[in-house]
């Protein structure tokens, strides 16, 4: 009886709120689905703790957060940390490096992936094509630590890059690439291209193989050669997916991480290797300036959303179709 009353009471409280929902949540349904609810409960709790609590933690960017005072006990300081951030020369240098390497990575990453996918799509030696594909995925699966090690080895004074350049008489003396600040962006981009081209080509290749074969046959009847077929059939067919991936990747221009830069960088190239997230890490955690570090994170998210919305509207206006 007691429980029944409670159920009735709960119904009365809950129902007005839920009137708009398409599927009404009733106690009967909840009872019937208690297994499903129990199955989802631990993961909903996980999401609350590991995904949404950090989001809520953004409030500390507006406080002078002290761990002993907690999220609520710390002093509110408004936009102090943001103003502070915009006055740091190091911040602008980190922003420049992040966007610089981000743009290079996006342009060359996309171009090489599309070119590689086109080349694979055109390959007629099936076995060789499969082998190339399998091998091309390999670098994606190894860690950045291993890749950084390989890059360092390849670009060292006695490495293969110098050996090849010397034997072709393109250079007269070995170059220590990794000690040259001006080549750091290029090295990171190159390493990225080497690691991810094969992997990124998967999606373009999938889009290419779903093109209707009859279109190619019709073009052949009209006397189109391979180039004309690529330019007039294949590329237009994958254009939507290129646009969607572009918009998504542009939003991530500022979220390039810091792994590559941290592993490939050294003291000599430090001012070209500092990126936003490394800056947040060094100041936010390394110097215990949690509020300052969080402010950097928020700035990053705002830029990311701004970039996505801007390029989405550009894509829409120019008739390329948008993501949102």
């Amino acid at each position: 009886m007691e429980s029944l009353k409670a159920v009735e009471a709960a119904k009365e409280v809950k129902q007005p709120k839920l009137k708009k929902a398409k599927t009404k949540i009733t106690w009967k349904k909840i009872k019937d689905q208690k297994v499903l609810i129990l199955m989802s409960l631990p993961f909903v709790a996980w999401l609350m703790v590991f995904a949404y609590t950090p989001l809520f933690g953004w409030i500390i960017a507006f406080q002078d957060y002290k761990p002993q005072n907690g999220f609520f006990g710390s002093e509110w300081v408004g936009l102090k940390h943001f103003i502070d951030l915009f006055q740091q020369p190091l911040f602008y240098s980190a922003l420049k490096n992040t966007l610089g390497m981000g743009v290079l990575g996006l342009v060359f990453g996309t171009l090489t992936a599309i070119m590689f996918a086109l080349a694979l799509n055109e390959m007629r030696f099936t076995r060789f094509k499969k082998l190339t594909q399998t091998v091309s995925y390999l670098p994606h699966f190894v860690s950045w630590v291993v890749v950084a090690n390989i890059v360092t080895q390849t670009l060292s004074i006695s490495g293969i890059a110098n050996e090849v350049l010397l034997s072709l008489n393109l250079i007269e003396a070995p170059i220590n690439f990794l000690a040259n600040p001006n080549s750091f962006w290029g090295i990171v981009t190159g390493a990225d291209v080497w690691k991810e081209t094969g992997w990124n080509a998967i999606i373009y290749l999938a889009a290419m193989t779903s093109v209707d074969q009859e279109m190619y046959e019709a073009a052949e009847v009209d006397g189109a050669n391979r180039w004309q077929k690529i330019l007039n059939i294949t590329l237009p067919a994958i254009k939507p997916i290129i646009v969607v991936l572009m918009i998504m990747n542009i939003g991530n221009l500022i979220n390039i991480g810091f792994e590559k830069q941290m592993l490939l960088g050294n003291n000599i190239v430090a001012n070209k290797a500092l990126v936003i997230e490394k800056y947040a890490l060094d100041y936010g955690i390394g110097m215990f300036r949690y509020s300052f570090g969080t402010a950097i994170g928020i700035f990053k998210s705002i830029v990311s959303v701004f970039l996505i919305l801007t390029f989405n509207s550009i894509a829409k206006k120019t008739g390329q179709g948008g993501l949102l």
Partner: protein, 316 residues
């Protein structure tokens, strides 16, 4: 059985394509393309083979340079040194294996459970949970708030920090969910009539049918776990019992590049000289050990992850 069903669905298409491509003539362009692909192959594989050759070559001989893809003086001394050292490398290897196994099993299972729950059309909180999950793909609290949460939970210097914070991935859940959505409903309906609970249906019917997609997700998770070094750096640096292989490799690289310390994992250069190895050669041996497990696994799952990735991208 189920696997066969899936394969026969895709096979005829492939056969048709193969026949078509055989009809086409091989022209000059095809040889140019093949040459280009050969260059891609060499550029991709050479660095790995070079590392392997150095790791299998006598260290003092390596220092003379000019080593390419074959060792000149074959030796296993560098590997013996890795496993015989009084440093952390064996422990690091054990931890990497342990976190990969535990993390992969728990994460794959968790993602599968959640995917199953949000694939049930009758589930009352379906929409709410789905939105909660997908939002995490677009917004995240960022590095520092996450660090603070993990610290508050007492996960610093705790093995659980390798497993729990990365338990769920929205992307993986969505891949599995798309797969479940495509399964025929009839199977579980009959089970429901027999009175099986949702959990039993999940374990006995859905899970076995999902093996291809679960293999893909397990591969993604395992690779992530095996390759991870930053969580060790950030959360477990001060507890050397929790060190991992990638983190140790990162430390060796750091030492080698700074050139200030001649002490690598407790092996000083004096000892190395008597043991006929150098930090450089040890580094390469560790690199090989960090790479080989992945090499052994990914080619066999290729078919699955390619379709999984395409599916995931289309859905999201």
């Amino acid at each position: 059985m189920e696997l066969n069903v899936l394969e026969t669905e895709t096979e005829p298409k492939q056969r048709v394509k193969r026949k078509k491509s055989k009809i086409k003539k091989i022209t000059k362009t095809d040889y140019v393309l093949a040459a280009f692909m050969l260059i891609v192959l060499v550029v991709t594989l050479y660095p790995f083979l070079n590392v392997l050759a150095i790791s299998l070559n006598d260290a003092t001989d390596t220092a003379r340079g000019g080593l390419h893809i074959f060792p000149r003086i074959f030796t296993l001394a560098n590997y013996q040194e890795v496993f015989a050292s009084n440093g952390n490398l064996i422990l690091a290897f054990q931890n990497s294996v342990l976190r990969t196994i535990i993390g992969t099993v728990l994460s794959t299972f968790s993602c599968a459970v959640l995917a199953y729950v949000i694939s049930r059309k009758q589930f009352v909180f379906r929409k709410a949970v789905t939105i909660m999950l997908t939002l995490t793909m677009y917004i995240s609290g960022g590095l520092i708030p996450s660090f603070l949460v993990i610290r508050e939970l007492g996960l610093i210097n705790n093995f659980a920090v390798y497993i729990i914070p990365s338990l769920l991935s929205a992307f993986n859940v969505i891949i599995i969910r798309s797969f479940i959505d495509d399964l025929p409903d009839a199977l579980e309906e009959s089970a429901k009539i027999d009175g099986a609970s949702d959990f039993t249906i999940f374990l006995k019917i859905i899970m076995p049918l999902c093996m291809p997609v679960l293999a893909t997700v397990a591969l993604f998770v395992a690779v992530g776990q095996w390759n991870s070094w930053f969580d060790t750096y950030l959360y477990a640096r001060s507890n050397s019992d929790l060190t991992t292989l990638q983190y140790e490799l990162m430390k060796i690289m750091d030492n080698a590049s700074s050139m200030t310390s001649n002490d690598v994992n407790g092996i000083n250069s004096q000892q190395m000289l008597s043991r006929k190895t150098t930090p450089e050669s040890i580094k390469m041996a560790v690199t090989v050990i960090a790479t080989v497990p992945i090499l052994l696994v990914y080619p066999f799952l290729q078919k699955y992850f390619v379709s999984g990735l395409t599916l995931g991208a289309v859905k999201s």
